[in-house]
């Protein structure tokens, strides 16, 4: 449920400390654009936490329910990508603005309509690789963290590749969970998973050459597949 309703521009000053600038903005550029920005900002504040000025996981939860999309849905991840959000579970105002402006969505209903278009955009091969790498980095919560644990990696694989590469993901997840050599997955291995799905015939694996620079984890995976 919404925490607060939309306010008129005047009383927006009470919530938005930088209302002065938005006032100036509104008067400087076209009315339509500034109205959009205003609405985007307002939308932000309906979910943001008052003290931190950010949308936190709780806010995201209610945002998701308004969107009628599950929080664990890949489309939320896509949104985060569009926003170039840095921290998993949080959106800053700047990120929010960035994302919604790019989608030309300033209301929930517009956002809902923009989602299918966003999915198509992400699915474009040039974007997908970027999105894929982004999804990994998005999961790195700690400062110096470079890898994610197997369990999370499997979930992420499912989320991001599940629809496109069902077979591969199923087998890969099964393998990752059963093997003992690796406890975490790093970025190099992560990007290679996408490359693997794109390039290698599945389930025949006939064009896989382990003498090339495939990460060892995939060599082992192929060996495991062939052994079954």
């Amino acid at each position: 449920m919404r925490r607060s309703s939309t306010r008129k521009s005047g009383s927006a000053a009470a919530v938005n400390p930088s209302s002065g600038s938005s006032y100036a903005y509104r008067s400087a550029s076209g009315k339509a654009v500034s109205k959009e920005v205003e609405r985007i900002d307002n939308l932000f504040y309906t979910y943001a936490d008052a003290s931190s000025g950010l949308i936190d996981p709780e806010g995201i939860e209610s945002f998701c329910s308004d969107l009628e999309v599950d929080c664990t849905d890949v489309r939320i991840l896509m949104l985060a990508w569009k926003m170039k959000a840095e921290k998993q579970g949080y959106f800053t105002l700047e990120e929010w603005r960035r994302g919604l402006k790019a989608l030309h969505a300033d209301t929930i209903s517009k956002l809902k309509k923009a989602l299918p278009e966003l999915e198509k955009e992400v699915a474009r091969p040039s974007n997908f690789l970027v999105f894929f790498s982004y999804s990994f980095r998005y999961c790195l919560t700690e400062d110096k963290q470079k890898s994610i644990d197997i369990e999370s990696a499997c979930q992420l694989l499912e989320l991001v590749l599940g629809s496109q590469y069902r077979l591969q993901v199923d087998k890969l997840v099964e393998y990752l969970k059963s093997q003992r050599d690796y406890k975490v997955i790093n970025m190099d291995q992560w990007t290679s998973f996408l490359r693997f799905c794109n390039e290698i015939n599945f389930p025949s694996l006939d064009n896989y050459d382990e003498e090339l620079a495939w990460p060892l984890i995939l060599d082992n995976f192929v060996e495991w597949m062939k052994g079954k």
């Binding site: 470079k146 890898s147 790093n186 190099d188 291995q189 290679s192 490359r195 003498e211 090339l212 620079a213 990460p215 060892l216 060599d219």
Partner: protein, 738 residues
């Protein structure tokens, strides 16, 4: 005759005069009368210098040719016509010889013609005229029959009959001479057919021999016929035929049947090698080196043979290890030593083959190396061959190991052992095991001879570089330094009597890094010994600066006097064993846990110690219950009733098998070595693709053969640690990150 007299003759008269003159001259020459009367000569001369219209030179020239032709048709050809075989050949030789002589003299007599008329009109010389006549009229007609006759004689000679070689030589010279400067006639009219006939002759012979002769005997036949054919060339064929002739023969008798011969089950290459028939093998090498692929195939057979022999030795040792359960360790150990010895013998046996029979050809050296590498890099009875080789060397170098051998013999044995290391990939494993054994030899005074110790290190260094033996040499040097330090320590004690602990202490200081790593423990040193340690601990800083000493009591030995009821015996034990025994100075009975807590050692150490003192050969302690194994509920007491006919006994403490630990150490080291190698390569190349990086890495690593998976894993680790990155476009390409 005066010139005008000649002038007066008419043409027809002149013509017939010329004819008569020529004919008679020719006739006389053919009868080998080479003298011409001055009168005749004069006449020729006069004829030649006539001016037109009485110029007879042209007529002379034409007549000359006609007369020769006639001579040939009327005399020479008929003489040859109905003759065959040898008779034909003889006649031809005579006729050709005559012709040559005739031509020579005639040219001389009519030389005036040569000088002016012929030159002026660019006509063939008289020589050429005569020659061409013979060629066209005689040679071309008879060459077929002549060729057949010659070839038939050759075959007869091959069959064993005596033939007139001189005759053949002369005939064949005709074939050569008839072509003047070119060998075309010889080749086309004789050689071609001769070679074909040779081929089919030997093809028939070979098809017979192959059925009845053994491989060695067949080779003898081959050698013989090659020799005979060469001989034939020397005696009557033209030298240029030799290579072609030999080639044909070799093809028919050797190439065609090469596989059959080599692979003959009863007497083929493999059998010869097995039975070490050096003469036959040498012959085989010589013969087959001349045919395409010959040596290659032999080398493959040889390689297979050596590999099988080596693998059999491996299997033999494996079998022994898996069979005997009971006295397993001893028997397996013996078998392992036998294995190394037999491999060395196998090598010794094969070196003369490669060096002598196979003339040290690189191909054979290579396959010998490959064969040894194949079976020497398998695990044998659960151990790496590197370890077995170390044990073998240990047995030679330790006291009592090689007393029966002379110094020279030992040097040779060590040389051969080091040689064998050349075939083993896991050289770093060898060093690690060797270190362990060397440490024991040095520290427990088990080394037989320091010179031999140094000698084998020198050989290892020569084979693998200074870095390879640096730690080992350091260990040996430490022992020398230790002796000096010990002397100084003795002096120190004399000068400082209050520090003297009253017990003879000798200390060996080991340089960390050279020696295997030993874990120091919180062992409770017996009181009597602490004073000794203190004395040294005070002395040592006076000798050196800033060195930290860590005491490894597990490596110490102790001479301890034990007073039993009936005897006093001196026991040579390890420090740990001594500590256990000394406990019984204060207590009659001690439980397992009491011993353990007093010594502050781990269970496996305590069990081993107690076993050595009451369950093995010498029962110095009594155990309740009196079973043959140690349990934590046992209680121990000093066995005062112990006796032995010796006054001095060494109580051995069985060594722990540290194989697993050593393998771990080596594995860990390898990671660093591979990392360093990869970084080194990438630093210099900056950008390199995956396969090249792997290839270069494998090439650079000499002390072990890296597992490709290991290298791949290290590359990934280096990417993770941001030493390298993958190129974003070409994911097979790596880039060095400075």
């Amino acid at each position: 005759m005066p010139a005008n007299h000649l002038q007066a003759l008419t043409s027809p008269q002149m013509s017939s005069r010329v004819t008569v003159l020529c004919t008679s001259i020719v006739g006389e020459v053919s009868r080998r009368l080479c003298k011409l009367s001055p009168k005749r000569r004069r006449r020729i001369h006069d004829m030649c210098i006539q001016r037109s219209p009485h110029d007879t030179t042209e007529k002379l020239y034409t007549k000359y040719k006609e007369v020769i032709m006639e001579y040939i048709t009327s005399v020479v050809l008929p003489s040859l016509k109905d003759k065959h075989d040898e008779f034909l050949l003889r006649e031809l030789v005579i006729r050709w010889s005559n012709h040559k002589v005739m031509s020579k003299w005639l040219s001389r007599f009519f030389s005036y013609l040569n000088r002016f008329f012929i030159k002026r009109n660019s006509l063939p010389s008289l020589d050429e005229v005569a020659f061409t006549c013979f060629q066209d009229q005689v040679y071309k007609v008879t060459k077929g029959k002549v060729k057949d006759a010659v070839i038939s004689l050759i075959d007869q000679e091959r069959g064993g009959e005596q033939i007139d070689r001189g005759l053949l030589k002369n005939v064949i010279e005709i074939f050569v001479e008839i072509g003047t400067d070119k060998m075309d006639y010889y080749k086309n009219d004789f050689e071609e057919e001769m070679l074909k006939e040779t081929a089919s002759y030997y093809s028939r012979k070979a098809s017979n021999w192959i059925l009845i002769e053994s491989f060695p005997d067949y080779m003898l036949k081959v050698e013989e016929c090659l020799r005979k054919e060469k001989d034939r060339v020397v005696h009557y064929l033209h030298a240029t035929s030799e290579p072609k002739l030999i080639e044909q023969v070799r093809h028919e008798v050797l190439c065609v049947y090469s596989s059959q011969l080599l692979e003959n089950e009863k007497s083929g290459c493999c059998v010869l090698i097995q039975e070490h028939k050096v003469d036959d093998l040498s012959r085989m090498y010589k013969l087959f080196s001349k045919i395409d692929d010959g040596l290659c195939r032999i080398s493959q057979i040889y390689k297979k043979h050596v590999t099988v022999e080596g693998t059999t030795l491996v299997k033999k040792t494996d079998d022994v290890a898996s069979n005997k359960e009971a006295e397993k360790r001893v028997v397996v150990g013996l078998q392992e030593q036998t294995f190394v010895r037999e491999v060395i013998e196998l090598h010794d046996k094969n070196m003369p083959l490669v060096n002598d029979c196979f003339q040290n050809h690189t191909l054979f050296r290579k396959v010998l190396k490959e064969a040894f590498e194949i079976f020497l890099n398998k695990t044998v009875a659960g151990s790496s061959t590197a370890e077995l080789l170390v044990n073998y060397c240990d047995n030679i170098l330790k006291k009592g190991g090689s007393e029966k051998y002379s110094d020279e013999a030992i040097e040779q044995i060590l040389e051969k052992a080091v040689n064998l290391l050349g075939y083993i990939y896991d050289k770093d494993l060898f060093v690690e095991f060797y270190r362990k054994k060397l440490a024991r030899r040095l520290l427990f005074d088990k080394s037989a001879n320091e010179d031999h110790e140094r000698s084998i290190l020198t050989k290892l260094k020569q084979q693998n570089g200074t870095h390879f033996t640096s730690k080992l040499e350091g260990m040996v040097t430490d022992m020398t330094l230790a002796r000096e330090t010990q002397a100084d320590f003795k002096d120190y004690l004399q000068c400082n009597p209050r520090t003297n602990p009253g017990i003879d202490l000798s200390v060996t200081v080991l340089t960390t890094g050279f020696w295997p790593s030993y874990r120091s423990s919180d062992f409770h040193l017996p009181f009597e010994m602490t004073k000794c340690i203190q004395a040294f601990a005070e002395f040592y800083p006076t000798k050196t600066n800033s060195r930290k000493l860590t005491w490894i009591y597990s490596l110490g030995t102790c001479n301890i006097t034990a007073k039993f009821e009936l005897q006093t015996i001196e026991l040579i034990v390890t420090t740990y064993q001594a500590a256990v025994l000394l406990l019984f100075n204060d207590s009659d009975r001690l439980s397992y846990s009491e011993i353990m807590s007093q010594l502050n050692l781990a269970d496996d150490d305590v069990v081993r110690l107690l076993q050595s003192l009451c369950c093995l050969k010498y029962k110095l302690l009594n155990k309740e219950p009196n079973t043959n194994s140690i349990s934590s509920d046992d209680v121990f007491a000093f066995n005062s009733k112990f006796t032995n006919k010796m006054r001095r006994i060494r109580i051995p403490l069985p060594i722990v098998d540290e194989k697993k630990k050593i393998l771990e150490v080596v594995d860990k080291d390898r990671k660093y070595v591979v990392d360093a190698c990869l970084i080194r390569i990438m630093k210099s190349r900056k950008v390199l693709n995956h396969q090249q990086l792997i290839t270069e890495c494998v090439e650079q690593l000499k002390v072990f053969k890296p597992d490709l998976k290991l290298i791949k894993k290290r590359i990934e680790d280096l990417i993770n640690r941001e030493y390298l990155e993958r190129d974003s476009e070409n994911l097979n390409l790596y880039r060095y990150l400075a």
